[in-house]
């Protein structure tokens, strides 16, 4: 049953199957009880034979159900497919139904927002039961499945739709804006998320912390270039050492080492005794091929934070690279000298 909730498959099949399974389990329990009472009845008695036949077919059905659940488990557990999102409105949330299993279950009927004539019925897991209500706009996350059986991973409030409804009435509702932004940035709605973020920052310009959080949401999915403007925004309103570090790092990871170096060098002035800016500068200079400066930066960082195998490794690597560059230069100069010297 757990697999049926966790890796649920859309369609009506399950809703036909579950009551049957419930009934079959009840019949099996009843038969076990009766058989216990009929222990002295001969094995070839027609009454007993009928019971045996019912038991056999019931057990078969239960076994098929268990194997089907295992199949769904494998299909969902090993699934690495990209999630797909589809918007629905809740038509109704059904009351809990008890099929005679140790679990009760409830389901939701959904109307596709793009194709309103289409409705779907889905099982609800425990977390969703308490949170969903009639007419709520929801987003259904589905995946392709490891064995090619599409399954539904989540039914959650569609903040992209719902927040916009609320914001029509309360346009300065910051929590709703933040929910909208967080939803968009975790549901592949990057453009919408960015637009909402800037709208929010226009309304609450002092909220540099949210700007940093938005930047972090882009960083975590490796969209560093998109994180940079939010960190820049935070740095302009709250110019601290810490903000400079996240900005410098995002600039570097987005490939803009020149600007990253400027930001980090400026941050050194804010706290010359701390190691972090030198540490980032070590990598930035290294990435720009300014190995001597990179080495000097790592040395300064290690003076301030001695026990750091990571920095020691990187320092050694840059020293080695610098030595190789210098050796190559010398070799080139040597070759150049040999060529330019006229033969006697």
């Amino acid at each position: 049953m757990w697999a049926q909730f966790q890796y649920r498959v859309p369609g009506s099949f399950l809703f036909l199957l579950l009551p049957v399974i419930g009934l079959v389990l009840t019949v099996l329990s009843f038969i076990l009880f009766i058989k216990h009472l009929l222990i002295r009845i001969p094995a070839d008695d027609p009454f007993r034979l009928t019971f045996d036949r019912i038991e056999w077919w019931s057990s078969l059905l239960v076994r098929i159900f268990v194997y089907y659940s295992l199949l769904l488990y494998v299909n969902g557990k090993l699934d690495a497919s990209k999630p797909a999102y589809r918007a629905y409105d809740i038509v109704s949330v059904a009351n809990t139904f008890d099929p005679g299993l140790p679990f009760s279950y409830s389901w939701v009927t959904l109307r596709d927002r793009q194709a309103p004539e289409r409705t779907e019925r889905l099982l609800l897991n425990w977390g969703e039961r308490a949170d969903l209500w009639g007419a709520e706009p929801v987003m259904v996350t589905s995946r392709q499945g490891f064995l090619g059986i599409p399954w539904v991973a989540a039914i959650e409030r569609d903040w992209d739709h719902y927040a916009k409804e609320i914001l029509k009435y309360a346009p300065t509702a910051s929590t709703v804006w933040k929910e909208l932004i967080a939803f968009d940035l975790t549901h592949d709605l990057w453009k919408e998320g960015k637009e909402a973020s800037w709208e929010y920052l226009k309304l609450y310009p002092n909220d540099y912390k949210t700007a940093i959080q938005i930047g972090g949401s882009f960083d975590i999915v490796f969209r560093y270039a998109e994180a940079v403007p939010f960190y820049e925004y935070a740095a302009a309103r709250h110019p601290t050492y810490e903000v400079s570090q996240v900005l410098g790092t995002a600039l570097s990871w987005s490939g803009n080492n020149t600007r990253a170096a400027q930001v980090l060098e400026a941050s050194v002035q804010l706290n010359p005794d701390y190691w972090e800016a030198y540490y980032h500068l070590g990598y930035v200079y290294g990435g720009m091929g300014r190995l001597a400066e990179g080495i000097a930066a790592f040395e300064k960082a290690l003076e301030r934070k001695p026990n750091s195998p990571e920095m020691e490794t990187e320092l050694a690597r840059q020293r080695q690279a610098l030595a190789a560059v210098q050796a190559a230069k010398q070799a080139a100069q040597k070759r150049q000298g040999q060529v330019s010297n006229p033969s006697p």
Binding site: W133, Y162, T175, V176
Partner: protein, 503 residues
């Protein structure tokens, strides 16, 4: 057989001469009666069960629905009990319970001469006035108490009874609703008995004279002491709606009984009908908002309801504060919340709740100078509030007034050594100043006082910065187990592992 010994049949206990079939029916009936009585008794307040003849009489009369008779019997019980020396600690109230009105008034007057603010003494006088049917005086006293404490539950009950006895049903309903809207009830036994008696008297009136909606609301109040009063409350409310007697209040009573008995959707329908019947019925908006909040966070409808409550009663601080709390805490509409708070402060400039809200809202808006101003004003009213020092410390730190911020958090800790927020505040300041050795124990202490995954992540990062890599790695693992998407943990753990040579 020896003469003189009883026979075996004679030794058997006397029994009813019933057939087996009838015995089974009788046993089932007894079990059902027992279940019914047990069910009825289990939901009744202890005050209904008094060990005396009058107490038992009171219970029987109450159970058959004669509330005024029950009140008289209970009063006789307490009269005997307090005449034999039992005391409530309030001599005036003891005299009232003994039925000595003159003594009660004299004792209360003497108390008031010493302390004119003594609410207990005022209530004694008010109840004595009510007993003497001096309704005007009873209402004057309740007004005097309301000036000291808005919605004081005992004073609200007193006022409601005075209005009910004077036939002003609207004000009687309003007064009892004022007691209930803050989820508080009257604490005085004397008032309870008068309430029970008045309910019984009103219920015994001829049908055409019955104040239906008032009765619905009085039964709703009595439901707190005995859940079985919910049913008559709904019945009277339905009759009141049909009769056009305060239909909005009647719908409200129905809704509240449904809500208390676990039928939120029926309750919501009743609240919406109450609003339809009277768009100024602020209490119905408030109840509807709470139903919307509980059914999975229906923010939009909840917003409509809180807004409706505030607009229906803009001068009522209960709805204003609830609306501001919703705007601030649930919707995050800081600008709207601030506008309403400042508007309220124009009328009540020293209201501590609104001063606190104004400070918080300015803080959330990043306007820390204004926030500090409000918190400092608040400290002149409540100087021992550690939470305000925490708030102050936070804004001072944001303005880079670090020494003042540290002092503020330390003052908070001197007032409340177990203040989690104060430890987090200090840790945050030390972390910002890269004083990690001082920040770590503050975070650790905060986590001892209460778990929080973000505080734990901050502590892990400090272990990392202090080169305690193994400790940091273990700590980050704990964070990720609790919050798999924690950005601090995800970002720093890979570097921690690098330093441990595992990556």
């Amino acid at each position: 057989m020896l003469v003189g010994y009883p026979t075996e049949a004679a030794m058997r206990p006397p029994s009813l001469n019933l057939s087996r079939h009838n015995k089974i029916i009788l046993a089932c009936a007894l079990v059902l009666i027992w279940i019914f009585i047990r069910q009825q008794i289990s939901q009744m307040d202890g005050r209904f069960f008094q060990l005396s003849f009058q107490g038992a009489k009171g219970l029987v009369l109450y159970l058959i629905g004669d509330y005024s008779g029950a009140a008289k019997a209970y009063r006789a019980h307490f009269q005997e009990e307090f005449q034999t020396g039992k005391t409530t600690g309030n001599p005036g109230l003891d005299a009232l319970l003994r039925g000595e009105l003159t003594a009660a008034k004299d004792l209360s007057q003497k108390t008031l001469e010493k302390n004119p603010e003594d609410i207990g003494a005022l209530l004694n006088l008010g109840e004595a006035a009510l007993e003497e049917n001096d309704l005007k005086h009873a209402l004057e006293i309740s007004d005097r108490i309301f000036k000291k404490q808005t919605d004081h539950p005992d004073a609200s009950v007193l006022a409601s009874l005075a209005f009910a006895r004077s036939g002003d049903d609207s004000k009687a309903i309003d007064a009892i609703n004022r007691t209930l809207r803050r989820s508080r009830i009257g604490s005085r036994l004397t008032a309870f008995l008068m309430f029970l008696e008045t309910t019984g008297d009103k219920a015994r009136l001829p049908d055409k004279e019955k104040p239906l909606c008032l009765l619905a609301n009085y039964y709703r109040y009595l439901r707190i002491y005995d859940e079985s009063n919910g049913k008559p409350a709904i019945t009277y409310a339905e009759k009141a709606i049909v009769a056009g007697d305060h239909p909005a209040d009647a719908y409200l009573a129905i809704g509240i009984v449904h809500e208390k008995e676990g039928r939120p959707e029926k309750a919501l329908q009743a609240f919406l009908k109450a609003i339809e019947a009277d768009p100024k019925q602020a209490e119905a908006y408030r109840w509807a908002a709470s139903v919307y909040a509980e059914r999975g966070g229906d923010l939009l409808n909840e917003y409509r309801m809180w807004k409706g409550a505030y607009e229906a009663a803009p001068g009522d601080l209960l709805y204003t504060d609830a609306y501001v709390q919703f705007l601030q805490g649930r919707l995050g509409d800081l600008k709207q919340a601030l506008t309403i708070t400042l508007k309220t402060l124009e009328v009540q400039p020293d209201n501590p709740v609104m001063l606190h809200r104004a400070g918080e809202l300015y803080q959330w808006l990043g306007e820390h100078e204004q926030a500090i101003g409000y918190f400092q004003k608040l400290l002149t009213i409540t100087p021992k509030d550690a939470g305000i020092y925490d708030r102050l410390g936070y804004s001072l730190a944001e303005l880079k007034r670090i020494d003042e911020a540290v002092t503020s958090f330390k003052t908070a800790l001197s007032l409340n050594p177990n203040g989690r927020g104060s430890h987090v505040g200090l840790a945050w300041i030390y972390q910002g100043a890269h004083r990690f050795k001082e920040a770590i124990p503050e975070y650790e202490k905060a986590l001892e006082l209460g778990e929080d995954v973000d505080t734990l992540a901050a502590l892990c990062s400090l272990y990392h910065y202090e080169s305690q890599y193994q400790r940091a790695a273990d700590c980050f693992q704990m964070v990720i187990a609790q919050d798999p998407n924690n950005k601090v943990a995800i970002n720093l753990l890979s570097y921690t592992l690098k330093n441990l040579g595992r990556q």
